[in-house]
């Protein structure tokens, strides 16, 4: 026989009023202007949609400012057999990946800064064809031992021609001199993901360099238009321009500066000054065009895993590459910055 507890039952049974409250409207209605003006930023998550060429996009934006210094032993996306690629390779494989750097002498960190991360899904009808994680703004040092990389990582090389002279043969130095290029001239070139033959290789690339058909240019300290005209006669072919190597293994770039470190961030503003915009990593089952939040245009990412660090507009409206290095760094690589406290610089 169960012991029923009448006093307890009475206490618990509360007769609710029989009024059935109407459920709140879930239908979307435009807010009146006075109501809109009262909503003083109610939340840090919002959801936006886009549509382009038959693909619908849904993006969840997080209003977060993130500063971080982190290490991971391995970042690997897309380890599968792919036509035209060596077996056992991944779309993206970076060992000892790190964001930001540390200062061992003071114990302080130089954080990598991220503004407004988002997650976006691309739908073809009701089928998800792509997924990406991106940052509206990002700035700092990205380090790692890059084994393979798929995506779009434009690099701008700008610096004095001194390293080019050092790497060049006597004959090439003579040609450069004829073209009006001196050791002190400021030269520029654009590099992108290529294979060892200089062809564009956005899938599982192991090199970054000047693609076949591109040439160096001189921005100051030369003979102006004459120099550029002469330089354009010498295009990069098979990873070389007049004997000077123009493709470099990704593994030698052990740290990459993202954004413009020379511009200091103003902590009073929400925006990150000098940041690169539109960084994302995506995975898609077909070529999917993702929206570039900076330019509002759509940028195509190939099937597979894809890392995109796009060019963006700087304060003057010019399209600049997110990574800028000089020729010393291009030829010699960029050593890894210290990302671990203590004796080690990586692998902690």
């Amino acid at each position: 026989m169960r012991a029923t507890l009448r006093p307890v039952l009475r206490a618990f049974t509360v007769l609710a009023a029989c009024v059935l409250a109407s459920t709140a409207q879930a239908r979307l209605e435009p807010m009146a202007d006075n109501e809109l003006s009262d909503v003083a930023g109610q939340g840090f998550i919002n959801l936006t949609t886009d549509s382009n060429a038959g693909i619908d996009y849904t993006r969840i934006n997080l209003g977060l400012k993130v500063e971080t210094q982190m290490n991971m032993n391995k970042l690997q996306l897309g380890l599968y057999d792919r036509a035209g690629e060596a077996a056992g390779t991944s779309d993206i494989l970076i060992n000892n990946f790190a964001l930001g750097s540390v200062n061992d002498s003071t114990g302080a960190v130089n954080p990598f800064m991220i503004n407004d991360p988002f997650v976006e899904l691309a739908y073809s009808g009701n089928k998800i064809v792509g997924l990406r994680v991106g940052f509206a703004e990002s700035k700092g040092t990205l380090s790692g031992d890059i084994q393979t990389l798929s995506g779009s990582v434009p690099v701008h090389i700008k610096g004095t021609a001194d390293p080019i002279y050092n790497a060049a043969s006597g004959g090439t130095r003579f040609l450069l001199g004829l073209a009006g290029v001196y050791r002190s001239s400021i030269m520029e070139a654009d590099a992108t993901l290529v294979n060892s033959a200089g062809n564009l290789d956005p899938v599982r690339a192991t090199y970054s360099g000047m693609p076949n058909g591109s040439s160096l240019s001189c921005s100051s300290g030369c003979l102006g238009g004459l120099t550029n005209a002469l330089l354009s006669l010498f295009t990069s072919s098979n990873c070389a321009v007049t004997g000077v190597t123009t493709c470099f293994p990704l593994s030698q770039f052990q740290s990459l500066p993202i954004g413009n470190a020379a511009i200091a961030d103003n902590s009073a503003t929400q925006a990150i000054e000098g940041a690169a915009r539109g960084f994302f990593i995506s995975m898609q089952t077909q070529a999917v065009s993702w929206k570039d939040l900076d330019s509002n245009t759509f940028k195509e990412a190939l099937a597979g895993a894809y890392l995109n660090i796009p060019k963006f507009k700087d304060a003057n409206g010019n399209l600049v590459a997110p990574i800028t290095i000089n020729f010393d760094q291009a030829f010699g690589g960029i050593p890894r910055v210290d990302t671990c406290f203590g004796a080690a610089t990586k692998g902690c």
Binding site: V8, G41, F44
Partner: protein, 201 residues
């Protein structure tokens, strides 16, 4: 705690026998046999018609609310709604507050049971080695919600202030509450099973 619960159960068991409560002598207590237990059903509502803090205003436009008025309607709705219970917690001296806001609705359940049980068998072989008493909460077969809601937010003050209202109307422009999300629950959730609770040293 278990011993106090045992004492309570024993006291309640004897309550049906006499109208006047007497403490039982030990030998009477030790004669009590049979099974203890509780079977609960209940329905309760929280702030279904609003609560004591705020009355329902005439519109959802926060700038028009006077002192003591607040509507907790969903964003975009033009019909004002009563507000539910608010709970705010601060985990840091001189910090902001975590808020569970607008907790309201009608909640009913039937068949929540409570009893003790000896477990010395079953549980895919674990019971024999366990061989102890547990407190068994039997989940109700069905839990019904009607217009249940709550919101999770963070705020810079514990009590709600109308940031859009004028000072004369009790407003405080410096108040900032960021709603992370809010949820509405309607309908019934079918469940079965027991939660077994026992001390663990």
């Amino acid at each position: 705690m278990i011993s106090r619960l045992g004492l309570l159960l024993c006291t309640l068991l004897t309550a049906t026998a006499q109208a006047e409560l007497h403490p039982l002598a030990d030998d009477s207590l030790s004669d009590v046999s049979g099974q203890g237990g509780v079977y609960l059903s209940g329905e309760f509502s929280i702030n279904k018609e609003g609560g004591p803090l705020w009355s329902k205003p005439a519109s959802t436009n926060a700038a028009t609310w006077t002192v003591g008025e607040r509507s907790c309607a969903t964003k975009g709705s033009t019909t004002p709604e009563n507000c539910g219970m608010r709970l705010a917690v601060r985990s840091e001296a001189a910090g902001g507050w975590y808020v569970l806001d607008n907790i309201k609705g009608i909640f009913s359940f039937e068949g929540l049971t409570l009893r003790t049980r000896v477990i010395n068998s079953g549980f895919a072989g674990d019971g024999a080695g366990f061989n102890r008493d547990v407190l068994e909460f039997g989940l109700p077969n069905e839990v019904k919600f009607k217009d249940g809601s709550f919101a999770f937010a963070v705020a810079n003050q514990g009590g709600w202030r109308n940031s859009a209202g004028t000072v004369a109307n009790g407003g405080d422009a410096s108040y900032q509450q960021t709603n992370i999300f809010s949820a509405k629950i309607d309908g019934s959730i079918r469940m079965q099973g027991n939660v077994l609770v026992f001390p663990k040293n």
